[in-house]
Structures are given as structure tokens and as C-alpha cells.
Amino acid sequence: MITLKINNTQVEVPEGTTILEAAKKIGVEIPTLCHHEDLCVAGNCRVCVVEIKGRPRLEASCATPAENGMEVFTHSAKVRNARNVITQLLLSEHAEECTLCYKNGNCELQNLAEEYYHDDEMFIDLAHEREHRIDKSTALRYDPSKCIRCQRCVRTCAEIQGVNALSAAFKGKDMMITTFMEKTFGEVVCTNCGQCVVHCPTGALTERTYYDEIWEAIEDPDKHVVVNTAPSVRVALGEPFGLEPGTIVTGQMAAALRRLGFDSVLDTDFAADLTIIEEGNEFIQRLKKKFVDGEEVALPMITSCSPGWVKFIEHMYPDLLDHLSTCKSPQQMFGALAKTYYAEKKGIDPAKIVSVSIMPCTAKKFEANRPEMKSSGYQDIDAGLTTRELAKMIKQAGIDLTKLPEEDFDSIMGESSGAGVIFGATGGVMEAALRTVYEIITGREVPFRHLDIQPVRGLDGVKEATIKFENCKSEYSFLEGAEVKVAVAHGLRNARKIMDQIKEGKSPYLFVEIMACPGGCIGGGGQPIPTNDEIRMKRIEAIYREDAGKPIRKSHENPEIKQVYEEFLKKPLGEKSHKLLHTHYTKRNRY
């Protein structure tokens, strides 16, 4: 252990602790910008500098390890003066358009400017000289004039996602954060995962917003606007309204959507259950083809719910696309049914339906706009909004989410099982699938206490589990005694580990779940900011609480699912399913 003094208070920390962490331990908050607990230390912004007795220079507390006998001053006059100058420097190169900024009120630079308020511009404005080039791609928006070059996005894209779509370029006064050759996100190897957005301290990187168009549709009497909400939105939407991370607001969310004027408030979780039926059967079919028919079939099968992940594999492993389940994501299954099954049942002209999804995700915007996603004969999903955009709409409508009564989703396509809910957490799709697949094969419930498949839960980067099939039903006797190894990865850097194994032909798995974002959808690129491991864990716990509280916990027991097969789809992997619920993938450039 190391003992040091911070602002005259003694503190003991393990070796390797930074001054920043040591200060936090005794309740001293040192402001930071380039620092993020998810990422490696950069020491770039210099906002967190502190004074250390005996050293002539101030040191970045995020990058300086605590040493025995150190005497640190975090807010001395020298430190405050320096921090003030640095803040003013940052402001001088930042386009100060706070009132015009999407991140107004949730900006770390703004917070710093508030703390280090200066009544006049200290330095010459540099922002206006900078080129005003705003990249408005389908999913993401980048405004370099608001970038403070902390490189959090660069580190996110490299360290968490292993994509490296962003880099610092040039040097000195010309140094900037950019994609390859300053191309738009749509033109480069970018998965649209939005993790850069979640990690951006300012309004430089945001999602491309679409709520204005949705307001318009809501107000159009000719349009029937249907909304569906992803599992992870209900455990995070409370945060922008001041609720603790991990607060479940499912009922309030449904009430708010109704008050916003959506004509029908439905649930993506229904489509998640549907995904399990299709995907579970696809998995069994692949096993049968392989082990009974001796056909060449790609195994492991990998989930395809996460559009950031799908775009990643299209870019990075175009030769392994066969491994992806052909199932569309729940969002797109929902969209395809909304303009067919739902329209039919409700007697509404599908041309008049506007289908909106509320997603924890920025990549969903791209997915909704994929050219192949038109199997209903229309664009299946007209717009994908993030959790943050929904919070904005609710605020614009003057609604206090916290004061709303809890309401239910509408029907049809509003009912879900606990299995659908856990799609929101890493490991959830796997767990939901196993709950159903095991029962199809053996006729019994999956052999885990309370159906909770603990090995696939939690924040470990790659998780594994083995399921042994015993006493199988006669038609699945080929699986008798089989030990099926499955794996779960979240964060694309972890995905790479699994994919490289497959590429080398060394994968021990038969079924793999991959989510682009750390923690799964609850940590998605469209979720409230900030997001860190502590918050991810709280959202995950809430997801499992919601699951545990559901009367139905298995997708195949969802009565609306039974109904849609009886009345419309007929059978899993059937002709209609094939047309509406399955898709194909596109090989893309690797570099």
C-alpha cells in the first residue's frame, strides 16, 4: 500500500493507483475531459493537473501514479489558474453554440466552463476559422468544430471495438479527429455502433436525430404511427429524468408514448420472442443438417440481432457471413409484421403506417435504412430513434416521466416474455434461445435454477457455457448426450477473438451470441450518457429483475407468439417467415 496526502488528508491506496483515483477515494473530485473509466489513460486535455510538492510542474492526475509520501494539492491557486487557462483555451477552439447544440445540458465541457466561469473571452476565437464540415450520415453526426480532440472516440473505436474508424490526423494547429480521408461515416469502415457518441464529452459526435420527422407523422391525421420499444430502453429511460440507473420505467414509458400521440404503443420484446422461435429452430435445423444429413453447414451459428455487429462482420469477416443467423433483428421482424400482419388484423392500409422503433442503438438507424429491409413492400421500419431522442421528445411534450402512471402496451404485438426482455443484456439472447431450444429438444425446462442461465450473464468479455442434451425427444435423438458449447461476446474487440478462432477453424462452439456494445444493448450507442461499467451493471440487474417478475419467461409460451404462428406465419422457418423474417448479408470492404 502507498500512503500519500491529498489536500492535507492522508489516504492509503494500492500501488499503481493514479492520483485521480486516490483523490476520488476521499471525495475529492478532480475535473477531467479526456479521461474515461472505460478507456486507457491519455493525459491529453490537461484539465486534471494537480500540484505535487517539490515538483516545479503540475502533473496530470489521471496519468500520474500515487507515490509514497507525495503531497498533492488538487485545487491550489496555481492549479485553479492553470485549469482556468486550459478551459479558456478549449473554449477558444470550440464552437460555442451551446443553445444550438444537441448536447446542451449534458456536456462535460459546458460543466467545466460553468465551474471555471470567465466573464469575458480570454483568448481569440479560433473556432470560426475552422472548416465547418458536418458529417450527417444515416446513423451518426460529426461536427468537428465542437471537437476538443480528447481522443476518447479514437480510443473507444480502437480499444473497445477494434475497428479504428477514427484517428487523430495531421499535427499542431491542424490536428483533428477524423475518419479515413475525412470521409463520412457512411463511406468508411464504421459499424455505426455509436460507442464514440457515448464516450464523446461534447456535442461533436452525436446520433443523427429523426424526431422532427416523427413529430410530423404523429400530427398527420392520415398516418397511423406505430412505435415499438427495445428491451433495454425501459431500464435506462429514467436516467435523463433524474432517476437512478437501473430504475425500471416500462409502464411509465408506455404511458409517455401514448401521451406523445403514437397511435399504437407496442413492444420490440414481442419481436424478440419471435426471433427466438425462428433462430432457435434455425439452430436446430443447422444441427440436424450437419449431424444427420451430413450437409456442409456453417457452425457455430452466430446471432444477428445487433446491427453494429452485423456491419462489423460484413466488413471484417466477409467470408464468414454464412455463420450469421439469417434471422432479422427484432426491430426488423417487428417492422415487417407491422405493415403486414398488424395492418391486416387492424384493417389499416400499410401505406399509411409509420413504424417507429425506440432503440438503445445508433446502428439501428442504419439497419432500418438497409435497402433489403423492405419485405413488407414498404420500408419496414421508417425511423429508429435512440433512448436519448425519446427522452428529448418526452421533455419537448412537457411530460414528467416520473409522475406518469404505469400503463400496458397495446395489442397485438405488445406482449412479451421474460426471455424477450433479457435480449437487452449481454448473454440474454443466448439464454432466451437456450430456454426454448432445450425445451424443444428434450420437452423439459432448461436445467438451471429459476431458468437463470448464470454462466452467460455478467460483464466478462467472452463467456462460455456447455449444455448437455439428455433424454431427448425421439425426433431429436441425434442430439442425445451431446454437449453443446456456446459462447457470448460483447464489444467488437471481444467478437474478434471468437471470429479469429472460427477463421482458423478452431472454434469449439456451436452457437455464439455477439453484441456490438459493451454490456449488450443496455450499454448501446443510443443510451443515456454517461455510461460506464457501474451504470451498465445497474441496467443489467434491472433487466433480470424485469425478467424474473414476468409471468411468462419463455418465448414459446408467449400467447401472442402462438397466435401469430396460428393466424399468420403458420410455422417457424416457413414460407412467410422466410419472406418476412429472414434476410441476407452484404460483403463489404475491409479497409
Binding site: 479504428n164 474508424a165 484517428s167 487523430a168 490526423a169 477524423t178 479515413f180 480521408m181
Partner: protein, 157 residues
């Protein structure tokens, strides 16, 4: 045009398929083509299995790795303090007059590009310039005119 795929292959073979080889490979391309095009950057990214953004970000950091098409001969006149004191402006003006181009431009025949650069370590013989890496120092207007003339002459032969 030289076979550039081959060029990159050869460079990768020479320096090894590893990140540490990036700069030597980029410099090797520059030597052949005078600048680094978008296509070459992507080819290098592919060859080293790193992202295009990484290649671009690294390449653009260095002043001697040009990302814009350049002439056959690149003139870099030192603009740092000692050369500045010793008549860099006259050198620039003379070159401009000789070639009819401004700093940052390339002659229409694609023969010369005129650039400025920071200290090249010739302060004891200032003012100085580099042409394609070759040092020319203790310059004055007449000397500059002769050097340019020499380069132009060589082109004709």
C-alpha cells in the same frame, strides 16, 4: 506507371508485415510516386492489416509524406529563423519567378513543386533548401537560378 501493387508487396517484404514498417513503406511509396494517394493508403492498410484511418492519421502527421500530388522535383525551402534572416524570402521569390508558381503549387508540366519546410539543419550555410532530399545551401538569387536551370536542362536530356 510502375506496378504499384508489386511496389507495396516488395516494400512489405523488405520491411516486414508489422506496424513498425509503416513509415518506411510510406516513404518507399513517396520515393516512387512523390505523394501518397488514397488508393495507396488503402493498399498499405490492407498489406499491414490496419485500418485506413490509422494509415491516414499517421501519414498526415509527417511533413515529408505528401498527401497531394507533387511534381517530379520537390523543392523545400527552409523558412526557420536563421534561413529567414539570411534571405529565404529572396530564395522563394527567385524560385517563384523562375517557375511561375506560388508556394504549395506545382508547375503545369508537373516538374516542380515549391514548398517551405522547417529547419533542415543547414543554419551554418543559410539560406538552404532541399530538392528531392539533396541539400543546396548558401543560396542567393543567382545560385538558385542556376540550380533551377540545371534541373530544367536535365529534364530535356
Amino acid at each position: 506507371m510502375p506496378d504499384t501493387t508489386k511496389l507495396i508487396e516488395n516494400l512489405v517484404e523488405k520491411y516486414g508485415k508489422k506496424r513498425e514498417s509503416l513509415l518506411p513503406i510510406l516513404k518507399g511509396i513517396i520515393e516512387e510516386e512523390r505523394y501518397l494517394s488514397e488508393e495507396r493508403m488503402l493498399e498499405v492498410a490492407k498489406a499491414l492489416d490496419i485500418s485506413g484511418a490509422e494509415v491516414y492519421g499517421t501519414a498526415s502527421f509527417y511533413s515529408f509524406i505528401d498527401l497531394k500530388p507533387r511534381g517530379k522535383h520537390i523543392i523545400r525551402v527552409c523558412k526557420t529563423i536563421v534561413c529567414d534572416m539570411k534571405g529565404k524570402n529572396e530564395v522563394i521569390k527567385t524560385i517563384k519567378d523562375c517557375l511561375g508558381i506560388d508556394v504549395g503549387e506545382t508547375t503545369t508540366d508537373g516538374m516542380f513543386t515549391l514548398l517551405q519546410t522547417n529547419c533542415i539543419g543547414q543554419c551554418d550555410h543559410a539560406p538552404a533548401m532541399l530538392i528531392d532530399g539533396e541539400v543546396y545551401n548558401e543560396l542567393n538569387a543567382e545560385k538558385v537560378r542556376n540550380i533551377i536551370k540545371e534541373y530544367k536542362l536535365n529534364r530535356q536530356n
